[in-house]
Symmetry: none
């Protein structure tokens, strides 16, 4: 299976043929992506790339999410790709650890806003872009990742190039050129985890993919065997690639249907405990003031990785099952603001946190928990979580995705946030990209 | 030896400490680089990247060589990096096959013209940039290249980042950030040879390195162990790297002193064959019409890299030892016009090309060849080339470099060409970058 065959599939598949369920998942991905990008839009590293980007020129074509400013298309793709990966809160295709949205949506948004694209075409192009990057990722995973590549960066440009190239109407050969330009510049090493350069990876991949599509449209040639050739992408960056994954079963199903969304911005092993406590609250009406003791039976790894009994700040609280269980019962949701230092030190938090007891239990699986609240009236309520929310078995509901979105977009007015949610849920029927982008501006635009 | 130690050396070495001979070689490199860039400035691929670059914005800070136009600094770095590698006629550090100028000068020129840099600082920064890229190349060569990386692209950004970072006055930590940003985006696979994407590699490396230096100045963090870490640049892209090469003997000598300049605009491994055929022609009066068979005993790499038996156009002919040997005997010289498509398809060329036989011979070194012409009269003439012209043993003279420059810059008026030569030979004493850049404009500026 070859680069040309993959290009052929992309070109031969009409945007209109993408089925409804894939478009729905694309909208869920979009809501999640816009939320996490707005949530980190004020980070200093976004200021930095915008300042450097401004040295390119002064065009104001494309929105920088959550800032109320525009910049040129390429810099916007870079900035939005970065901001959407800063919180490590974006979506994941679990079988390759690929975060599909962070490199593809920024390129599509920048292109779509600059040149005018309908919501429906935007979503369908995203499904195709995610399909391409994930198929390439599957072809080279795990040896590619094991060798040290940050797969979201290193295959991201393929997705961006395919998605934008599709909207540009590239023919088969030019689509192969675009894939070739993406292939020759894999980007992102895992050594960068923990630095600003980690989120730079999907941002630059988005920018490179966008550029690749535009260069290919010009007729800028590359190898049309870029992925499979002996000195091409797959064999230079991995071992024993599974080339059949490139096009096998293309169009029968869509990889985006396997997308998953992180419900909570903290250590993943804590997620079942949060989920269990929230269910106690929702289903059993459990409230902090009635609790004598909150008991968690957890997988032993939880205490090993996230057993901080008395976190000193928000960053430490992300690794404290005690803080997370307490705040979940108090607030009914765990988003970024639940890790504000003030929340960590609030008397109400401290009081309830002291009542949380976590016991390791080898009978509890990693995505399970058993939560029991011993109440002041002498009764107890218990909740067993068999599969944590956000897993393939229990996907985030539409309501939960909205809650996550709202928790991330507090820089926007409540009206705007609701309008954005509505716009995205109706994206394929009566919206366009520029309209959606305009809604991401905060009440007070940020400078730069 | 570590990334931080390398950053430390770069930062601690004053530009003024670069010795005279290294500056002289930098000027030879500069003359050669400006010539090859002007020589290809009208290629359609330069138009293409300028059109796409214009979508960034409208700044006119930096000259596009040989066109009489300016664009933004980053697009100029990309365009000039591309044009200087289109003809495959640029300089080479033979022990790694690295072309040191193509990724470093474009970044320096774009920066130097935009912000104002003296000729002396420009040359010294180039020496440092070339030093950094070549040391990193040596640390990972040959396994990196063998695996399929186009080393000029994949280490080029280090050189550009170090050179511009030096002029920006980065401190040690920020210099390490700049190197880290370069490390995480190695660029260029050998599969791209023969397509527009090959010259794109040093162009994009120049642009990435320039961006890395500016981002690092902002404080954009990356790993400070980017080169040596287990999931960092060297181990992700090569095997058994020689980390001691990063800083061993720093400042005792300068790698640029080993620079060599291609006499012929085609794959360097073909040069001995051309040299040998030209000597047969000059010394033995050998002519195409008298030849039955032209036999080349070559280093095995020649056929691996440049074994195209039936090139379809000028670009492919640059990787065809068969075309090059034939055309050298026909024309007695191999310059850019020997790769015109018409020349490739001329009946005379095809007839002689069919008589060329190339045999790999492990006893022949990379800069050697043994050429034998079997003549129609039954006799044979033979020529062994021990060291090819342009090699370390037989360097191009100043006069030859000027001739090469003049043959490449016919779009400029004779006065301008002479003025440019004079300016470059005096670059460190009484010139600046903007002045030199202005002299590269052709009599009739090109559009776009």
């Amino acid at each position: 299976m070859t680069t040309m065959e993959l290009a052929e599939r992309i070109v031969a598949t009409p945007l209109e043929s993408i089925p409804g369920p894939a478009l729905v998942e694309a909208k869920r991905s979009l809501l999640n992506w816009v939320g996490v990008a707005i949530g980190a839009a004020q980070h200093p590293m976004v200021d930095m790339v915008l300042r450097v980007g401004r040295l390119h020129g002064a065009r104001e074509d494309a929105t920088v999410l959550g800032r109320g400013t525009k910049t040129d298309m390429f810099t916007a793709a870079l900035a939005n790709g970065i901001s959407s990966h800063i919180l490590d809160y974006d979506d994941t295709l679990l079988d390759t650890v690929l975060h599909p949205s962070a490199p593809v949506f920024p390129a599509l948004l920048a292109y779509g806003e600059t040149y005018g694209v309908s919501g429906g075409d935007f979503l369908a192009a995203f499904v195709m872009g995610a399909e391409v990057e994930q198929r390439i990722a599957q072809a080279i995973y795990p040896s590619h990742y094991d060798r040290g590549w940050h797969i979201t960066g290193s295959v991201g440009a393929f997705g961006a190039a395919a998605a934008v190239g599709k909207l540009l109407g590239l023919d088969r050969t030019r689509m192969a050129y675009a894939l070739g330009l993406a292939a020759t510049q894999p980007l992102g090493m895992r050594e960068m985890f923990g630095t600003f350069t980690k989120p730079y990876h999907p941002g630059k991949a988005a920018q490179n993919g966008l550029e690749a599509a535009f260069l290919a449209r010009e007729g800028f040639t590359s190898s049309t065997r870029a992925i499979e050739a002996p000195r091409g992408f797959a064999l230079v960056t991995s071992e024993s690639p599974k080339f059949e994954r490139l096009v096998d079963g293309w169009g029968e199903t869509w990889e985006i249907l396997n997308n998953s969304y992180k419900p909570f911005p903290c250590g993943i092993v804590i997620h079942p405990s949060i989920d269990g406590v929230m269910r106690l609250r929702e289903k059993h009406g459990c409230r902090p003031e009635s609790v004598l003791e909150l008991e968690l039976k957890v997988h032993p790894l939880v205490l090993e990785l996230c057993g901080k009994k008395e976190p000193r700040d928000g960053l430490e609280a992300k690794f404290s099952v005690y803080h997370c269980a307490a705040i979940a019962l108090i607030d009914g949701w765990v988003g970024p603001s639940q890790f504000d230092d003030a929340k960590v030190w609030a008397p109400e938090t401290l009081a309830l946190r002291a009542k949380v007891i976590a016991r390791p239990d080898p009978a509890i699986a990693e995505d399970q928990v058993c939560v029991t609240a011993h109440l002041k009236d002498g009764s107890t309520v218990s909740q067993f979580v068999e599969h944590v929310v956000g897993s393939k078995h229990v996907p985030m509901t539409r309501d939960q995705l909205e809650k996550k979105f709202l928790s991330l977009t507090t820089s926007l007015s409540p009206e705007r946030r609701q309008e954005l949610i509505k716009t995205i849920w109706n994206f394929e029927v009566k919206s366009d990209v520029a309209l959606m982008a305009a809604l991401t501006a905060p009440d007070t635009p940020l400078s730069s």
